[in-house]
């Protein structure tokens, strides 16, 4: 079980990077998980679309704007807010925050933590919100750890193996959408493991056009041997808000040397990544626009099923049409037309960031989708 999932999530919106770091550390030490820190209203708003925090610490004046809209969104969702601001309480810009618990910036991190604890205890006695978070917890618990689920698709793991993988994947870091984990030209710094959300590998041309070469879904990780390289030859970025773990190269080396079943699973996973890249190359080189999109949707269904993130043919697809275009080597116009065509044929429904496949046999037929390259044995239900 992932113990981090039981710690309350605190949204931290703070324009000053140093203050953000101090507060973030203090919150972590006090047993909270931190959503952020976010320096802009836009990033914080995007993050709460993905995950509802239990509490929020807001600096009123963020880098892009006074975050009144964020305050409203949080209040609509019933999230208690602690204001931590350098502005005076009678400043007109703080109008949307009057009457809330307030600490003048810079407050001692311990004071922030103490006041939050008080607010959290009041919330917990409220009832409904606690109930909501319990059901979310149960769902996450039933799904289990995606890293373990993924490797168990390839190999049989012992209890000891599972305990090690659980430990490795515990210290997750939350990242907003469209954040670079590592850029082309950077020195590799560990292996990224995705626990929640969607990450991609991509390259950008001088003219700004971008090709996405791979999606990393929950349970997927970067290259095992990336530490052998001096510099990255591509960029890895989040697509949606994500929970990611950075695994040190030494940890991977230890797994590969002393835990044969885990090592076998990781090697299988690498082979599947390569096979998937070949399939994507076939997609962009030899399939029509509608076929490419249909193929991608079929593949995501199978891959997300493995880690328990589908619900009878439906899954979260937190991608824009532009990102779909960048993935499939199509223009935005052709992606739009292909989606319309698939809708017209009654094969898919795509709304509010969720894709529902209404006619899987037909979609598979259009894409000529065979899941053999994912090497799931008899686990591939699609």
């Amino acid at each position: 079980m992932d113990f981090t999932a039981q710690r309350p999530l605190v949204l931290l919106a703070e324009a000053d990077a140093l203050v953000a770091e101090d507060l973030g550390n203090a919150l972590n030490q006090a047993g909270y998980r931190v959503l952020g820190p976010f320096a802009t209203t836009a990033e914080a708003l995007a993050a709460i679309e993905w995950e509802r925090p239990a509490l929020a610490v807001l600096d009123v004046k963020l880098r892009d704007s006074v975050c009144t809209a964020l305050g409203q969104e949080l209040r609509q969702r019933g999230v208690p807010i602690l204001v931590h601001s350098g502005l005076q309480q009678d400043d007109p810009r703080t109008l949307g925050f009057r009457g809330l618990p307030w600490l003048s910036k810079p407050a001692l991190p311990n004071d922030v933590v103490a006041l939050l604890a008080e607010m959290a205890s009041q919330t917990a006695s409220g009832g409904t919100e606690a109930a909501a978070s319990v059901s979310e917890l149960q769902l996450a618990e039933e799904r289990g750890n995606p890293f373990i689920r993924k490797l168990e698709g390839f190999v049989t793991l012992s209890d000891a193996d599972r305990a090690i993988l659980e430990r490795i994947s515990t210290h997750t870091r939350f990242l907003g959408p469209r954040v670079d984990l590592i850029c082309e030209g950077d020195k590799p710094d560990g292996i990224f493991l995705v626990m929640e959300g969607m990450v991609c590998r991509h390259k950008v041309r001088e003219n700004g056009s971008r090709q996405i070469m791979a999606y990393l879904l929950p349970g997927d990780l970067g290259d095992l041997d990336v530490a052998l390289l001096d510099t990255m030859d591509h960029t890895i970025s989040t697509l949606s808000a994500c929970r990611v773990v950075r695994i040190a190269p030494d940890t991977i080396a230890e797994l590969m040397q002393h835990h044969p079943q885990i090592a076998r699973g990781l090697r299988m996973s690498t082979l599947v990544d390569e096979a998937t890249l070949r399939e994507w190359l076939l997609n962009v080189g030899r399939r029509s626009a509608v076929e490419r999109i249909a193929h991608l949707f079929c593949e995501l269904l199978v891959r997300l099923q493995v880690v328990g993130l589908t619900d009878t043919g439906s899954y979260a697809l937190p991608l824009t049409q532009i990102e779909l275009a960048e993935t499939t080597g199509l223009s935005n116009v052709h992606v739009n037309r292909s989606l319309q065509e698939l809708r017209r044929q009654g094969l898919i429904e795509l709304k509010s960031g969720r894709l529902t496949i209404l006619n899987l046999p037909r979609l598979r037929k259009i894409a000529e989708f065979k899941s053999n390259y994912l090497h799931l044995g008899n686990r591939a239900a699609a």
């Binding site: 003219n207 056009s209 223009s331 935005n332 116009v333 739009n336 037309r337 319309q340 065509e341």
Partner: protein
């Protein structure tokens, strides 16, 4: 060099049917299609559906009106 536009209907397999063939000095250089209402932000914009020679651009750009489209085509031809 002068551009000449010839209106035409095109079967894109979508609701985007209004189109222009674009000729430069008598040669066909591009096919433009006006985007339908299914494109929320870009409805009514012009899309470079097909283009030839120097006008061909892998990014397949869109333009808010025919004037800007023609300026872009002219600049591509003279590049």
């Amino acid at each position: 060099m002068s551009l000449h536009l010839q209106p035409i209907q095109i079967a894109t397999g979508s609701n985007d049917t209004k189109s222009h063939l674009v000729f430069a000095d008598g040669f066909l250089v591009a096919v433009l299609v006006q985007l339908s209402d299914e494109f929320e932000d870009e409805a009514g914009w012009w899309f470079l559906e097909a283009a030839f020679g120097r006008v061909n651009d892998f990014r397949a750009p869109t333009f808010p009106n025919l004037e800007e489209t023609q300026e872009w085509i002219t600049s591509q031809l003279s590049s």
